[in-house]
Symmetry: C2
Subunit: 463 residues, 2 copies
């Protein structure tokens, strides 16, 4: 799917705010379609951390559609299937395992498998976020991504002129449109929805996460060979532990999530100092394998408050020529492992639209402002329902993992009835019909261009 | 799909406990397949009441598979599509409408449509339960159904002999197998799972229901023509009102559901005297159309506590030659309107199996006891997951309808994100692949017969 070469044609100019995985993937896709783009990242370097991330096969197929170079970047950054590459059964699975009960004296490694869903061959690929981003950035020509650019304001002087971006360092840039890929604490979201609006800010999910990377040999000692080399979710009352292999299967990425009934003290600071003792307390009395893994966490480590946009979802993702994508639009808790995958779907929708915008401007003589507004209106219509569903669903599945019923044998039968729903929810994520989405996106834009659908009354205004 | 005529072959003898809709449908299907069956009903007459019931198109296709005479009975008992038969749009829909907010002074009938799902042409058909049952019973030859037979005990003297049913009136009957279609308060469930086991009894869902039938002309005055002639669910904080046309569109069946945080005083008695005032209080401040309908309820009426099997689901539906089906197995709250539909799916699975049982006994020489145990084991494996999902899902959708967020404008955007999930849940019910179920059922039974699947260790014992 090579980009159309716009010989002599002038492309719209897009600013992407935020140089994370979704922002850079979007930039790669736009460049491939000859859409002019600049990426502005507030940090000194790139925003991703050394934690693990996994992509579904479906998200990787979306990447392929955006630009095959993205898949190459993923694979060269040490991504591996989350299964152990067993020849008899090479597929990836989600495995939910009893973390709390069913101790067996004759086999200290025994944990009952509660449920398992087949995600197919290479159903998931895990890697380290920072390594993937580093590989992705190499695909982008120099000069496209600028760091240390923290957005302050978006100003639109006159409707048919460019939009001005003002950065905190005093510099200014003019573009035709802005896409906020600036993550959960998005400044672009705050600008679109308004300061003080609760939908402008993420809220606490009442779960805290502790992450670490564990060398494979130690993980095998703690869990046994099979569990260490394969993705597992150990569930039980008020907490769960998830792990899967990363870094060419030399390590496992392990994350412990713990329910927290209390408010989080500081909305601006989602990371606080934590200790292994916190997790030891949460997993006291759990299966020895789980406690073995907990013992491999560092004594002092960060405690991540999980925030999302569940309490007050954004009522719209677009306003005139400004749009939100990825976590900026729909930051979810990580319990489906599908937040970034959904951002990749967003990017596929946006590159499809912005290629059409250039065609409209060059061939139909539509104004850039009008074409971009219609494109973002279409994006909102196509993407909002599914992505908000994901935010809800991610909360729901964690509620299932943390059911207090797991600690009550009389409630076990009921607790296990959750798995049919977990399966349906996983399938909805995995089996996403992205080709259908592309068709709907093109039709939605064409219908709006033809005036068949009412245009939004939301337009950019000064903030 | 005519039944196989078993010339000279001896059929197994089945007792169905409970002469409700599911029990009689099952009996009709067994008779059509030349399976000997008797139905024992505890009441003087038939157990269904004059309230409305709707079947999905899918459930009606299942009835067609069981015996086309069932569909004829449905249609002759005054069933109508829940839509208004509009030629421009003849399909049936589920419609969720704002019952609480969005008052408009210039149009007292205005209520915002929140969401609508297309169920297709004749997607639902509504009728009165008592009229349908009456028509169904006419399909059954005289002598098959016996009333005033309340089951007391099930006894199995020796493994290869018949099972004895003892009734409260002192009579006894011997059969090869027992299927409990005896509804939410099932005695057969109590016998299988044990007296005192919380899974043997239904529990309170903390919702109460008030039902009435309203003549169509009065409904039109209350709601307007369109709403009265079409199914609508009016939702709002802690309550909802659902109605649809019944009885050849001469009346609407209206049910008000109200959340109740208190315990229900008496587990044995799910109906208590209520009054229109109770509902007036619950719907105070709601849209005038909703209050108009509430005013048409009788001043004194029954209050139905909604019970279900959510808290303690049955861990299995079968034990030896005894099996549970319909509400006896998985009584759910009525909020998907799919409880009876799921019972019809159960009946289709059971008639498929019992036809095979007769073939096994006559052709393969399998013992009746063994064949019946394998059949019920298969039934449990095929039906339990889906039907328990329905129990959970029915609770979940009512939670969505009653979200307190509907009363808080700042939470409206969030409240409306529920509809994607409502759609998925409805599709899972409507688009059930019953042909796939029949194939899986036949394969499951054949595999068990061939010893490919482990047989259950649960056998009938004396109670």
């Amino acid at each position: 799917m090579p980009g159309t070469v716009l010989e002599g044609g002038e492309s719209v100019e897009i600013a992407i705010i935020g140089g994370g995985i979704v922002g850079v993937i979007l930039a790669v896709g736009l460049l491939r379609r000859n859409v002019k783009v600049r990426v502005f990242e507030q940090a000194q370097g790139f925003r991703e951390i050394g934690a693990g991330i996994a992509f579904t096969a479906n998200a990787i197929r979306c990447m392929e559609q955006i630009d095959p170079a993205i898949v190459t970047a993923l694979r060269t950054s040490g991504s591996v299937p989350t299964s152990d590459g067993n020849e008899d059964d090479p597929n990836d699975y989600l495995r939910w395992i009893d973390g709390y009960n069913q101790l067996r004296e004759d086999d200290p490694y025994y944990q009952r498998m509660l449920y398992k869903i087949d995600a197919g061959y290479r159903g998931f690929e895990g890697c380290r976020r920072d390594q993937f981003l580093e590989a992705l950035v190499k695909v982008v020509p120099p000069g496209v991504i600028e760091c240390k650019k923290r957005l302050e304001k978006i100003e639109e002087q006159e409707q048919e002129k460019k939009i001005s971006l003002k950065f905190v360092d005093g510099t200014m840039v003019e573009v035709d449109a802005v896409i906020g890929c600036d993550g959960i604490k998005s400044r672009v979201r705050e600008i679109i929805l308004g300061g003080g609006n609760p939908a402008s800010y993420p809220h606490y999910t009442h779960k805290v996460a502790y992450r670490t990377l564990i060398p494979m040999d130690e993980a095998i000692k703690a869990l046994d060979d099979y569990k260490a080399k394969n993705q597992h979710i150990h569930i039980g009352p008020n907490a769960h532990l998830i792990h899967y292999p990363v870094a060419g299967r030399k390590m496992i990425n392990a994350t412990a999530f713990v329910s927290d009934p209390n408010p989080w003290p500081n909305d601006k600071q989602m990371v606080a100092p934590g200790s292994r003792e916190d997790i030891e307390t949460a997993f006291a009395g759990w299966n020895p394998c789980v406690r073995n893994v907990v013992n491999l966490f560092p004594k002092k480590l960060d405690k991540w408050a999980v925030f999302d946009l569940w309490d007050y979802p954004a009522p719209y993702y677009n306003k005139g020529r400004i749009c939100l994508a990825g976590d900026a639009a729909h930051a979810s808790s990580p319990h489906h492992g599908a937040g970034a995958c959904t951002g990749v779907e967003d990017a596929l929708c946006l590159v499809t639209l912005l290629k059409q915008v250039n065609l409209s401007v060059q061939e139909s003589g539509l104004s850039k402002r009008k074409a971009l507004s219609l494109a973002f209106e279409t994006f909102n219509a196509i993407r909002r329902t599914r992505s908000q569903w994901l935010v809800n669903s991610s909360r729901r599945v964690c509620d299932f993992y943390h059911q207090p019923e797991w600690a009550n044998p009389a409630k076990w039968v009921k607790a296990e009835t959750c798995f049919e729903e977990l399966k349906d929810r996983s399938y909805k994520i995995w089996h996403f019909d992205y080709e259908g989405m592309i068709k709907e996106t093109l039709k939605g834009y064409a219908d709006r261009e033809a005036g068949l659908l009412p245009a939004s009354s939301r337009e950019t205004s000064e903030h």
